[in-house]
C-alpha cells in the first residue's frame, strides 16, 4: 500500500544523490503498481490461478496407473497446469492491458513523465514475472502434496524455473500483440494463440503419435517435455531448448518491431 508521506520521503532520498538509481526505482515502482493492479483483478486470478488449480484437483486423481511422457500422469498434469496458468497470465492478461492502455492514452501520459522511454514495457515484463510465480508455485505444491509427485528439491526449482522462464516467451508475444492491435482485435487473437499453443502443445492432454509430431515444434510442448524429462531423469535433448529459444527470440523481435513501429503515434 502507498503511505503517501513515506513514499514522498523515500523518493526525495533516493532521487537526490543518484540519478541512475532513481530511474531504476521509478521503473520498479511502476512494476509494483502493475503487480498490485493484477492482484486486484478477479479475471486474472480466475484464469491464471483458479482454473489450473481446479482442473488439477478434479482431473489428476481420476487418471491412475497411466503415464505420460515417461512420468506419472499426476506429474505430467502438474507441469501442464502450471504452464497453462503461467502462459495464459503472461499472454492474455498483458496483451489486452497493453492494447487498452495505449488506446486510453496511459502510455502517452507516461511518456510525458521523467520515466525512461522503455520503462513501461520493462515494468510490464517484471510484473508479469512476479505474478506468474504464485500460479506456478501453487500448482507445484498441489502436485507434491495432493498428486504425490516426488523428486529431488533442485528438480522442483528446475521445473518451476523452466516454466517461469518459458512464460517470458508469451510475455514477449503479448507485448507484440498489445502494441500492434486495438483492444477489440487483441481478445480474439490472444485467445486463438492461447488455445492453439495450449492444445497442440499438449497442455490439455498429453500428445502422442501424429499430434506429438506437430506439437514438438511448439514452445509449450517443449517446455512441458523439459519438465517431464527432468522428473524422469532423461537427458533433455538440445532441440527442446533450441525450439523454445527460437520462439522466444522470434517473439522478442516482433515485440521490438511493434514498439518501434508505434513510437510516433504512441
Amino acid at each position: 500500500m502507498y503511505a503517501t508521506t513515506t513514499s514522498y520521503q523515500q523518493n526525495t532520498i533516493s532521487y537526490a544523490p543518484d540519478k541512475e538509481t532513481g530511474t531504476m526505482d521509478s521503473t520498479l515502482a511502476l512494476a509494483r503498481a502493475e503487480v498490485r493492479r493484477l492482484g486486484r483483478n478477479k479475471r486474472y486470478s480466475i484464469f491464471s490461478v483458479g482454473l489450473p488449480v481446479v482442473l488439477y484437483l478434479v482431473i489428476a486423481p481420476t487418471v491412475k496407473h497411466v503415464t505420460a511422457y515417461g512420468v506419472a500422469y499426476a506429474a505430467y498434469y502438474m507441469i501442464a497446469m502450471a504452464s497453462i496458468g503461467a502462459f495464459s497470465g503472461a499472454l492474455t492478461g498483458n496483451a489486452q492491458r497493453i492494447s487498452q492502455e495505449r488506446k486510453d492514452g496511459w502510455v502517452r501520459q507516461l511518456r510525458l513523465t521523467p520515466l525512461p522511454a522503455n520503462a513501461y514495457v520493462i515494468a510490464k515484463i517484471i510484473a508479469s514475472m512476479v505474478i506468474t510465480v504464485p500460479s506456478i508455485a501453487i500448482v507445484l505444491l498441489l502436485g507434491r502434496f495432493y498428486g504425490n509427485v516426488h523428486m529431488e528439491l533442485w528438480k522442483w526449482f528446475a521445473v518451476g524455473g523452466t516454466i517461469w522462464i518459458g512464460s517470458l516467451t508469451f510475455t514477449a508475444l503479448a507485448v507484440a500483440i498489445g502494441y500492434r492491435f486495438v483492444p477489440d482485435s487483441v481478445q480474439p487473437i490472444a485467445m486463438f494463440v492461447y488455445f492453439l499453443m495450449s492444445i497442440l502443445g499438449g497442455l490439455w492432454f498429453a500428445l502422442s503419435g501424429f499430434l506429438a509430431k506437430i506439437g514438438q515444434v511448439l514452445p509449450t510442448y517443449q517446455i512441458t517435455r523439459i519438465g517431464t524429462d527432468l522428473i524422469s531423469s532423461h537427458s533433455v535433448p538440445a532441440t527442446a531448448y533450441i525450439t523454445v529459444f527460437a520462439w522466444f527470440a522470434g517473439f522478442v523481435v516482433l515485440a521490438v518491431l511493434a514498439v518501434r513501429g508505434t513510437r510516433e503515434t504512441v
Binding site: 502507498y2 508521506t5 511502476l30 503498481a33 493492479r37 486510453d104 501520459q109
Partner: protein, 324 residues
C-alpha cells in the same frame, strides 16, 4: 514579467513542419516562449495546435525544423523533469486509487511535490481514495491536471485543461494555476475558451492552417483585428464611400444600420463626419477577443483560400475588408 521576458527562451520552434502525406498539419511554425510567461495557444479546430503540442512534448517528430526546450531537445528536458504536461489524449492507469496514481507519478520526478499538496492544488483531495476508473469526466480531467503538477517543473503545458469542467471548477482551476505561475513557472495552454485566454494569458499565439497568424498581448491581438466596433444609423447610405473609410477591418450594413470594425475608430469616425455625414445613435465599443479571433482567422482563410467557402466564420453578409 518584463524582467523574465529577457531570459533565454524556454521553448523555441524554428520553422517547424509536420506533414502527413499532402496534409500540412504544421507548416513552418516559428515561435518562442520566454521564462515566466503565461501563453495561450489559440486556433480553430484543425489549426495544428495538438500536433504542435505533440511535437513539443516529443510524442511526434517534426518533418523538418527544430524544437528546443531549455536549450536542449525536448526529450531530455522532459526526462529531466522540467516539464509537466496534460494532453487531451492522455489517459490514466485504471484499477488504482487517485492517491496511489498521484503518488506513483510523483515518484518518477527528480523534484517531487508532496502528494497532499498536489491533491489539494488540483482539487482532488476529496476523492483521493476513489478508484481512477470510477471517476466522472470532470474528476478525471482534474486528476490529469494533477499529474502535470506532481513535479516541481519549470514549464507547464496544458491542452484544453478546463474542458469538461463546470464554471465553478474552472474558476477554482485558474485560481490554482495562478499559484503555480506565481512561482515563476512558464505556462503554455491551448484553449477553446477565448475568455480564458483573455483573462489568464500575458500573451496569445494564434495559429491557423499550421502557421503563426498572430502573436501578442490580448490587447494587441484585439487591436490587430480592429480594436473598436463603431455602429450608427444613417439614411441614404453611400456604400462605396463607407467601404472607402480609413482603418476599416470589417463592415456590415443592414438597412440604415452600419456596423464597422476599425483599427482606429477616431480616424474612421472623423473621416465620416468630415465628409459631411451626420449619423445618429453613434456607439463606439471595444471588440472582444472572440470577435478579434474570428476576424483574424477569417481574414487568413479568405486570403489563402480561392473561394469564399467558409462564410460560416464571417459575421454576416455585406462584408468588406480593408488591409488593417
Amino acid at each position: 514579467m518584463t524582467q523574465a521576458a529577457m531570459g533565454a527562451p524556454v521553448v523555441s520552434f524554428e520553422n517547424v513542419r509536420k506533414h502527413y502525406g499532402r496534409v500540412k498539419a504544421v507548416d513552418g511554425l516559428t515561435m518562442e516562449l520566454r521564462p515566466g510567461e503565461t501563453v495561450a495557444f489559440l486556433g480553430p479546430n484543425g489549426a495544428g495546435k495538438s500536433t504542435s503540442l505533440d511535437m513539443l512534448l516529443n510524442l511526434r517528430k517534426p518533418t523538418s525544423g527544430r524544437i528546443r526546450m531549455f536549450g536542449s531537445d525536448p526529450y531530455h528536458a522532459i526526462k529531466a523533469g522540467r516539464v509537466g504536461a496534460m494532453l487531451q489524449s492522455g489517459g490514466l492507469m485504471p484499477e488504482v486509487t487517485v492517491r496511489e496514481l498521484v503518488a506513483l507519478v510523483t515518484g518518477f520526478h527528480p523534484r517531487p511535490v508532496p502528494v497532499e499538496q498536489t491533491l489539494k492544488r488540483a482539487g482532488i483531495a476529496g476523492f483521493a481514495g476513489q478508484r481512477v476508473d470510477k471517476l466522472s469526466g470532470g474528476q478525471t480531467q482534474r486528476v490529469r491536471f494533477a499529474l502535470a503538477i506532481v513535479g516541481d517543473c519549470d514549464l507547464i503545458v496544458l491542452d484544453e485543461p478546463t474542458t469538461a469542467m463546470d464554471v465553478e471548477t474552472r474558476q477554482a482551476f485558474w485560481a490554482n494555476m495562478k499559484v503555480e505561475v506565481a512561482e515563476g513557472k512558464t505556462l503554455l495552454f491551448a484553449t477553446h475558451y477565448l475568455e480564458e485566454a483573455d483573462q489568464a494569458a500575458d500573451r496569445i499565439i494564434v495559429i491557423n492552417k499550421g502557421r503563426l497568424l498572430a502573436d501578442g498581448t490580448p490587447s494587441q491581438i484585439k487591436a490587430r483585428a480592429g480594436a473598436k466596433r463603431i455602429s450608427f444609423r444613417l439614411d441614404r447610405i453611400d456604400e462605396p464611400f463607407i467601404l472607402g473609410l480609413p482603418a476599416l477591418v470589417n463592415v456590415e450594413i443592414r438597412h440604415d444600420l452600419v456596423q464597422i470594425q476599425s483599427s482606429d475608430s477616431d480616424r474612421t469616425l472623423y473621416a465620416l463626419l468630415d465628409a459631411g455625414y451626420r449619423p445618429r445613435e453613434i456607439e463606439v465599443s471595444s471588440l472582444g477577443l472572440e470577435q478579434a479571433f474570428l476576424a483574424i482567422t477569417a481574414e487568413d482563410d479568405n486570403s489563402t483560400a480561392a473561394g469564399g467557402h467558409d462564410s460560416a466564420t464571417e459575421p454576416a453578409a455585406g462584408f468588406a475588408r480593408n488591409g488593417a
